[in-house]
């Protein structure tokens, strides 16, 4: 059964956060978090990941605030006031720690940045307040900085939270009312186009994205994640993972495009996401589930989603005109937008560019649809026929050929074209039909991308 998860994003009028005074437990949690970041082996569900996964959604929301403050302190250890602004929040909020809490936060930031010998850290005697684990963290961060990368905790923190989100998804918690500390992530779980439940999940992805916003590439004076290859790969790989698992999150790719506005791969995945949103499983589920008061879904009606997909595919193709798969999907979107002549043109170009059988199959199938819409029935029949030759078991081109015959008044032909489907024994193994995986196939390289992302971070001391 097709299962999908996609986020519903909250937009509330007026101030959303009523930041409570941080308590000592929150500072203690930051300390635990830093140790987990240091210990986590990327791509695993080790003890460190399990510990972070055990924290509740509200714990992670508050961690987002406090980790944000730590990241600000890492870049400016003399800072005492903290402005935080989550994605989609209309205004910044100020976080205020007590004097003692601030001292502790500064000491933790000194460890996280590997800067215990800096004047600001010496001034507060940070080194003497740290336990051996935090001293080790400081040493690792310092070694990384000396090696040219001053982002040890930021990168590893992002990897940790991504792993928790991907490998250890927590349960959906009931929605809580009232003002909240930190960003909220609300999700709808769907199955076969029907909503199953709606609730809140821990905002691990938000924490990871926030940390990467502070990444300062070698040689840069200020955070500049858009110049960093690891951040680019993190967004590419995690966005691909989300699409491969049908766990859609609009904010993720919105943020990726804000950082990498001309990255063809990110534009491609963004366009695919809107194409998926325009599809029946997502549209059906959202129609069937009313979104609670005070919230709105990021998914808009199918035609508007297709228009967004069209724009993004065009941008992807402008960034990389050789991207045949983007042109193929662009052609399908044009067809769905009632522009069959343009669709046929782009699909033919795409078919000259793609070599994988599966992509060629989609191209022929969509070309058949475009030519049918143009009433070029012979061209349509030929395209569907080529699709059949690529995947002889596939159901869709057979049905399309049957419908084409029926449309032309050939009832016998309509019947005959269905025979390969009708003659298949009911208990046979499922036929190989690429159409059924069209909405995830764009992310077929997700696992390889994730492996490339994690590899440099493994087996470090």
């Amino acid at each position: 059964m097709r299962r999908a998860v996609f986020a519903v994003f909250v937009v509330l009028a007026g101030p959303v956060w009523a930041l409570g005074q941080p308590n000592d437990d929150r500072v203690t949690r930051v300390e635990q978090w830093l140790k987990a970041v240091m210990r986590h082996e990327p791509g695993t569900t080790d003890d460190a990941a399990q510990r972070v996964a055990s924290w509740s959604a509200s714990d992670i929301r508050r961690l987002w605030i406090d980790a944000n403050a730590i990241a600000q302190l890492m870049r400016d250890p003399r800072r005492s006031g903290f402005q935080v602004k989550a994605e989609r929040q209309p205004a910044t909020q100020t976080v205020r720690y007590s004097t003692l809490q601030l001292m502790r936060m500064k000491a933790l930031a000194c460890a996280a940045s590997g800067n215990l010998s800096s004047p600001a850290c010496v001034e507060i005697r940070a080194a003497s307040s740290l336990d051996p684990d935090l001293v080790r963290l400081s040493a690792l961060a310092a070694a990384s900085r000396l090696g040219g990368d001053d982002n040890f905790v930021l990168r590893r923190g992002a990897l940790l939270h991504a792993d928790v989100a991907m490998l250890m998804p927590g349960r959906i918690e009931p929605m809580t009312g009232g003002a909240l500390d930190g960003p909220r992530q609300v999700r709808i779980h769907t199955s076969d186009g029907m909503p199953l439940d709606l609730g809140e999940v821990a905002p691990h992805w938000e924490v990871a994205r926030m940390l990467l916003d502070f990444v300062r590439p070698a040689g840069a004076a200020n955070p500049a994640p858009g110049l960093d290859d690891m951040v680019r790969l993190w967004y590419r790989s995690t966005a691909a993972w989300m699409q491969a698992r049908e766990q859609h999150d609009t904010d993720h790719l919105d943020r990726a495009r804000a950082i990498f506005p001309n990255d063809a791969d990110i534009l491609f995945l963004s366009a695919c996401q809107h194409e998926v949103y325009a599809g029946a499983p997502v549209q059906s589920a959202l129609r069937a589930m009313p979104v609670p008061t005070g919230m709105r879904s990021e998914v808009v009606p199918a035609r508007a989603e297709l228009q967004q997909a069209e724009t993004l595919f065009r941008r992807a193709l402008a960034a990389n005109p050789a991207m045949g798969e983007a042109r193929l999907r662009y052609g399908r979107v044009l067809l769905l937008l009632d522009r069959p002549a343009d669709a046929a043109n782009d699909l033919r170009k795409a078919l000259e560019m793609v070599t994988e059988d599966e992509l060629r199959y989609y191209g022929e199938l969509f070309l058949g649809g475009a030519e049918t819409a143009r009433r070029n029935f012979e061209a349509a029949r030929e395209a569907y026929g080529r699709a059949v030759r690529l995947y002889s078991e596939a159901q869709s081109p057979r049905i399309a050929l049957s419908e084409l015959a029926r449309r032309l008044g050939d009832r016998g032909g309509a019947w005959r074209e269905m025979q390969p489907i009708f003659e298949r024994p009911a208990i046979d193994a499922e036929p190989d039909e690429p159409w059924w995986r069209y909405f995830v196939v764009q992310a077929r390289n997700a696992d390889a991308l994730l492996e490339a992302l994690r590899r440099p971070f493994r087996n470090e001391p």
Partner: protein, 290 residues
Amino acid sequence: MNVIAPRGCCGLGGALVVWCSAALAGQAQPPTFSAKVEAVRVDALVTDRGQPVLGLKPSDFEVFDNGVPQQVDLVSYEQVPLNVVLALDMSGSVAGDRLDHLRAAGGTLLSALKKDDQAALVTFSHVVTLAARLTTDVATVRDALGRAVGVGSTALADGAYAGLIVGESDVGRALLIVFSDGLDTVSWLSPEIVIETAKRSDVVVYGVAVGGGKPEFLRELASLTGGRLFEVDRTANLSAIFLEVLQEFRQRYLLSYTPRGVARDGWHRLEVKVRRRATVKARPGYLAGF
């Protein structure tokens, strides 16, 4: 619109009847299709205060094709065997009690068929399967129903299309019952295209939709073919619904006329009236040409 050739062996004779031998012999012979004489068949339910009106003759009916009165050639009532096609959603959400209820309902309907009636079973999840071809041997269909399992996504439009094609593959009056408890998530065909196919067909579609969704596709499909949509919250009463569908379909008249004074292609708006106080339910039109 049916394009049919005369063989004259199943009660209606003349232009209407083709493939009689195949119909009577079950699935022994492949269907044949020809296009020599054009006639239009319309299934019509005539009721008065909810009760079927019986004994009507051709002269009792008035049929208007795009507003042009037509000569009704034939009227049949309970004379032509039925071809009942069950197109049943076997996606994952049907597993469990729903599947048991569905099997029971299918079995009840099959038991109510007459000797010359035929039945077929199309199942669909994301995979469309003709689990049993049109046959008078209802045990075959019953066995196929017993073997069906609920798994996968829902290709409702593809499944309904397959049901239409099976329904019009044989002479006789075709009743297509489409059952689904979900929304289409994976069909290749769009609902609009299946609706277009239904407009070209004289298969009458009854839809049974379970669950809280909005079954607009099934509603339109049923409406355009002169059928009816049943929306239910639970499947416990499914057998009664299937029987009601069959009973209602049996009470329908089958009219036939050869269109005169109207253009061949395009949408033909149909109006069926009787020359007495009664309510007539029939398909609102048909599509000819492409």
